[in-house]
Symmetry: C2
Subunit: 418 residues, 2 copies
């Protein structure tokens, strides 16, 4: 007998029939002998509909009023889910962010949770209730309604699990779990049974958007075991995400991901003066432009060249920022390359096993794939390749590191976008 926190997204509660399906999943966990808190998002397209309404009223809606507006979406779904659970003969009670006491900073539209009150939750659980909590929302100490921004409902669920010291937080999604790479590219990819927070964070930030990094960060911080599982196949255990220290065995490479949304900027003919790089990247940081991979090299003629990647969205700003640093860049050439993809392998097991990087480079070379840049971290190695070689790279790396199943995987539901 423990406490399980469950989270269901908007598509899982999109209509009354689906709400009954969720009620069944919730009740199943309750009948396993657990106390259950279930966090839900707004139904289907409710949030989009509300945003559209606001835009029809004004092009520049106030963020406080947007939060008042959007927070109604989850309140509708929690009330309906509580009704559905009751209709199946179980005690249930819905609670919005204010009623639970999900206390946040007063930053509208992207507030961070600072505290979760557990008194009311504990009391309602002790009374035998299944508690249905509105995700994505909170309240400031002053009583202002806030929303948590992207990935908000996942974060609500994980934070509540942390506050209640829950045994597990189950995130129900359209997919059956976490895959080592996008199954649309490698159809016989293995579903991952266990993965560490750190690996998941690297994969999430690379674009495997099953879980928002923020919720994984929170789970890691409070050591909440997370399970990503399918709302359509309740018997499927999905993927468990835990601390690497709790993992008994793990593969050197847990996942392979590609990111085609970056652009390479090449600055050549830079003066070879100490502090050049610091000045340029300082200016970029000041303008909130995240730089990913960086390579600096000294040319024969005593000039420097620096290549780095930024998000496509930041390209214009980045160029403007660089050009504004005239004393450095006026005599340099700035060129850009959009035809790139970053292919990464992620694995907590890399630390102990030298040679993984070499295996990666060789397997790409065997396929005739040219590596333009390389960057590495503790648990990740990334290579920049031509954009049209991204899928071939993923296939080669999955094969190299044994991430394929022997049978073709049967993949159901929507796949994560990579």
């Amino acid at each position: 007998m423990g406490i399980i926190v469950q989270k269901f997204g908007g598509t899982s509660v999109a209509d009354p029939q689906k709400i009954h399906n969720v009620a069944n999943a919730v009740i199943k966990e309750k009948e396993n002998g657990n106390d259950v808190v279930v966090v839900v998002s707004a139904m289907g397209h409710t949030t989009d509909h509300l945003i559209k309404l606001a835009k029809e009223v004004t092009n520049t809606p106030d963020s406080r009023e947007m939060d008042m507006l959007l927070s109604t979406g989850e309140q509708v779904s929690i009330a309906l889910l509580a009704m559905a659970i009751q209709a199946h003969g179980h005690k249930a009670v819905s609670m919005n962010g204010q009623q639970v006491g999900i206390v946040t900073e007063c930053i509208h539209s992207k507030a961070r949770i600072v505290d979760i009150k557990t008194e009311k939750l504990q009391k309602k659980l002790q009374e035998g209730n299944i508690i249905v909590v509105a995700g994505f929302q909170g309240v400031t100490p002053d009583g202002e309604i806030t929303t948590l921004g992207r990935g908000g409902s996942d974060t609500s669920a994980v934070a509540i699990a942390a506050a209640l010291k829950a045994d597990r937080c189950d995130i129900y999604t359209d997919v059956e779990g976490v895959y080592a790479t996008d199954p649309r590219i490698v159809p016989n990819i293995q579903k991952t049974d266990v993965i560490s927070y750190e690996e998941m964070l690297e994969l999430a930030s690379l674009g495997a958007n099953v879980l928002h990094p923020r919720s994984v960060e929170t789970a890691k911080q409070f050591n909440v075991p997370l399970r990503v599982r399918s709302s359509f196949k309740l018997d499927n255990l999905g993927t468990l995400i835990i601390g690497v220290e709790n993992m008994e065995i793990y593969k050197p490479v847990a996942g392979v991901a590609a990111d085609s949304s970056q652009v390479r900027i090449l600055l050549s003919n830079l003066p070879d003066i100490p502090g050049t790089a610091a000045k340029l990247f300082g200016a970029l940081a000041k303008n909130n432009i995240s730089v990913d991979m960086i390579i600096q090299s000294l040319a024969n003629n005593g000039t420097n060249s620096i290549a780095f990647t930024v998000s496509e969205d930041d390209l214009e700003d980045a160029i403007a920022t660089l050009e504004a640093e005239k004393e450095i860049t006026q005599s340099a050439q700035i060129s850009t390359d959009k035809d790139i993809a970053k292919v990464s392998i992620v694995g907590a097991g890399m630390v102990d096993r030298p040679g993984i990087a070499a295996d990666m480079f060789r397997s790409l070379a065997d396929k005739g794939i040219n590596i333009k840049m390389i960057s590495t971290s503790e648990i990740k190695i990334s290579c920049l390749v031509d954009k049209d070689k991204a899928n071939d790279s993923i296939k080669a790396l999955c094969k190299e590191f044994g991430l394929e199943t022997t049978e073709m995987a049967v993949v159901k539901g929507d796949l994560p976008n990579v």
Copy 2:
């Protein structure tokens, strides 16, 4: 410079364009130099839509969860109206029932307001805000969300006006004010400029459903001047509803109404024993059956007959209740008459002017209308007539008591249902 509370119903905020119209009406009052609190209902058919959703989930939705669900409707409209007011360049802030502190009993779906906190309202007004408050909803001391039931938003507005000691509470509706009778029956009926709470209560309970009696009761209790006015004709002052002690001149008859929803029950051949009536009406009261007009008469043979009216909805229960009182009714005959209408004249001026009743009876007799029963109160005289004579009765009485205009009234918008 005073405080004005305004209330707009669901049809007034049914879409973004209408919300902007309401914003204009609100701003107009603000620019007159007043502090403004505006109470709104849910947009158009939102509440119906939410009820439908709940019914799709379960046939017997829990009333607590229904309140969670329905209270979102007003929260959507207050956020959008606040945005619209801001778009017109004024400071505005929306507040739901919980944020204001509209404290109610914990009776879901029909809670009564027990207290309204004014600190936050006063503070936001002092900061120069127009405050947009969610009508129809409140919160228990325990943080449970409640709704106020029928006429709830009007009651919210009046109660807030009372708590803030506002100068006036303006209820904006589809009609231009209160009419002395249904303009569909008497097209050249006068709009009433001033009417007393007491008269309005009698008219409201008779079916002139511009205002719910509950909101008029609250206004009377706290002596809040109420104005019923049109949301489409902002220059039209509508009808002012105040205490009779504040009225300088008033007509003997302020309004004429008809109610065709009652049924007459006739008990004849009752034993003439003291306590018979007390027993019968006691039994009806015990079963929550409201009895309206009552006549008792002694027949020549020493038996009693009692006639009274009840609502059509209560007829079956009433008959069952009467038959259960066997020792009284076993030898009596029970007959019913559905073919009746109650026609009433209402006027605070009746008290001082004898002869009004006689004028009423004569004017009905002149038209060949037979009176089946009569009941009177301080400010009301009601006659039971054949149902098909109801409209003729109203016409005759409006003419008799000078309630018609010399010109045909031009009536716009939806008319109150009688």
